[in-house]
Symmetry: C3
């Protein structure tokens, strides 16, 4: 069998990939985690789907999710289980997974359009400024309570958030864990535009089809102009953040913080 057949035979467990006319639709629909949260397996599948879309005739990638949640960030339940096993090793492994996942977004040369269908938390929200156009439903909300998680920012949010919304709002999100409604996220520049839930899918599709009708050379050259100069700075930010995560998660306090956070969440119910 040919390479092509092998690829098309490749089955995903945690995501749904639909090759459409002119674009690739990637939807989070995790079986190995709750609420589309990200563990190394889920991240790997997204990367693989993006690598395929980078090489085929897709003009862009449309990223979304099945269900009422977009992505609730890292899969802390599976992470803490591993972390109690071997703290040093597992924190390095998780930081490496995040680094590669985030670099996939930084280095992607075609436009990434995101349809945020519901809550976007932690890494699920932090990744957005590495994408190009972000449309959200009115029901979506956005939160990056890293300090409460007992961790430092990821997905370059320590670099991108201050540039998108100013330091005052960025710090309130990253340190104080302020939760933004879709409209607030739009006013602060994290989201391009907000649509009513009832027509969200159609509104996104109309706009994606318009984008796909543009010449691919124009889309590629435009993205290169818009992103070219910041790529190195983003890769460095990603590197610094992953080093900080290793230090924090590798320390006894770091693990304590995650346990405290999970305890609070459980007590909250």
């Amino acid at each position: 069998i040919s390479v092509r057949q092998t690829k098309s035979a490749y089955r995903y467990r945690d995501i749904v990939v639909r090759k459409q006319d002119g674009f690739t639709h990637i939807l989070l629909s995790t079986k190995s985690s709750e609420n589309n949260s990200l563990n190394p397996d889920v991240m790997k599948e997204v990367q693989n789907a993006m690598t395929t879309a980078a090489a085929d005739d897709s003009k862009l990638v449309l990223l979304g999710a099945v269900g009422s949640v977009f992505c609730c960030g890292l899969d802390f339940i599976s992470f803490i289980r591993r972390l109690t096993d071997d703290r040093k090793k597992e924190s390095v492994k998780m930081a490496d997974s995040i680094r590669t996942f985030v670099n996939t977004f930084i280095q992607f040369k075609k436009p990434i359009v995101v349809a945020v269908n519901g809550p976007a938390v932690g890494l699920g929200a932090a990744i957005l400024p590495l994408c190009d156009v972000i449309w959200a439903t009115e029901k979506a909300w956005f939160q990056t309570p890293y300090a409460a998680f007992g961790q430092t920012p990821d997905a370059c949010s320590s670099f991108t958030f201050p540039r998108v919304m100013g330091v005052a709002s960025a710090n309130e999100m990253l340190l104080s864990g302020r939760k933004l409604t879709a409209q607030e996220a739009c006013a602060k520049g994290l989201v391009s535009q907000v649509f009513w839930p009832g027509t969200f899918a159609q509104e996104v599709m109309v706009r994606v089809r318009e984008l796909v009708s543009c010449h691919s050379v124009v889309l590629r050259e435009s993205k290169a102009l818009l992103r070219g100069t910041s790529r190195a700075a983003l890769e460095q930010a990603n590197e610094r953040e992953c080093e900080a995560l290793k230090r924090v998660w590798g320390s006894p306090q770091g693990m304590d913080s995650i346990l405290n956070y999970l305890q609070k969440k459980i007590d909250g119910f």
Copy 2:
């Protein structure tokens, strides 16, 4: 006759220039194009007027337009006519005109105040973040549908738009062609403040007179502080964008795209 007399005798066809007490008022009022759109001749006249204002006792330049339109971007009608003649040569010529026009704004050492009296499209909107204070009437709107034009961004908008309004909004404007009302443009940081059409001219004049009452050394030093560090980055962005324009316009697909765009506009009526 002296150089000074020669200069003051210089007549403009596509712009109106009024030397006022303390500032130079430049108004687009194009005869060689529709809707104050920009061709190499119009751009040249604006540059000449700005060069004069840079050298005389003007403390600032006030840029506006006669009529109900501010500036509808490039003059595609005349451009496509030339492009069909000699694609390579004419695309280089146009890119060179844009580069020089945009550099004139980047390198201008006195404050540039803009009164946006109506629609600002393409290059007419993209140039705004290279100016200093931008006041708009409620009736103005802003659109940079470059991908639909079949071209890549110009006037450093691939550099300035993400910095002004964040990547999500910048990409929606530059790739998806999202049209902003004056209030939306103000909320996103493209415009300083919006005024009612009935009192727009007066509101602008009051504020320009206040600015002109400041010491010229304070205005010059302030602008140097505010712009000094970004000049080189802007010049490089301008250079990269003009190179991309040459590549796109110089290709058969690029010319096709402009023709498609014009066809759609005609069909729209």
Copy 3:
């Protein structure tokens, strides 16, 4: 007596310092100036309090003010008195005071939370983007009319304001002296969130206590990620601005401008 005792015995005249559980509360309450405005003595006291907070077990600094005013910028009354004495010497001295004061904020390694209880003018508003989280009461307002003061921007505002709110709004504030309500300042990214005056103090305290409950290593590493890459650029901006202030204040026109400004303020009553 020990060094520690000496320090705790240190009494402030123009500020109130309260070491709380997990943080240091610094409140402007100037005796040597009106409206919490800043002269070299007040700035020195703030620096001393911050140096103490940097070294002790405080996880963050909470900066606020006693009364209904936050900080009305430079103490022009005492400055003009000195300036008429020896213009060159006194303008250098004031610029040096500002440089050191501003660098204290740039280089502070723990989060700085600000509770803006009332008007923030000039240096009192310009310093905010060098802090991390900024909460304001609905009654606060923000103005940096530097050109009207006859001076150039300070506290890195020529660098931070365009990055926080875009060039159009930054220039309107710094050149045209546009006054922002608390809500406007929040929409433009200068402020993190606005609260009702009646519950302002409690809202701030709840959030400060939550921040203080985070591990100090997480707060320190997060701030290092968020600020690390911009420190050198901010120090350079501070340096350039202070050099410009020396040139402007050291000139006869500069002193004239301050006198004109004070005259207008007096005539305004």
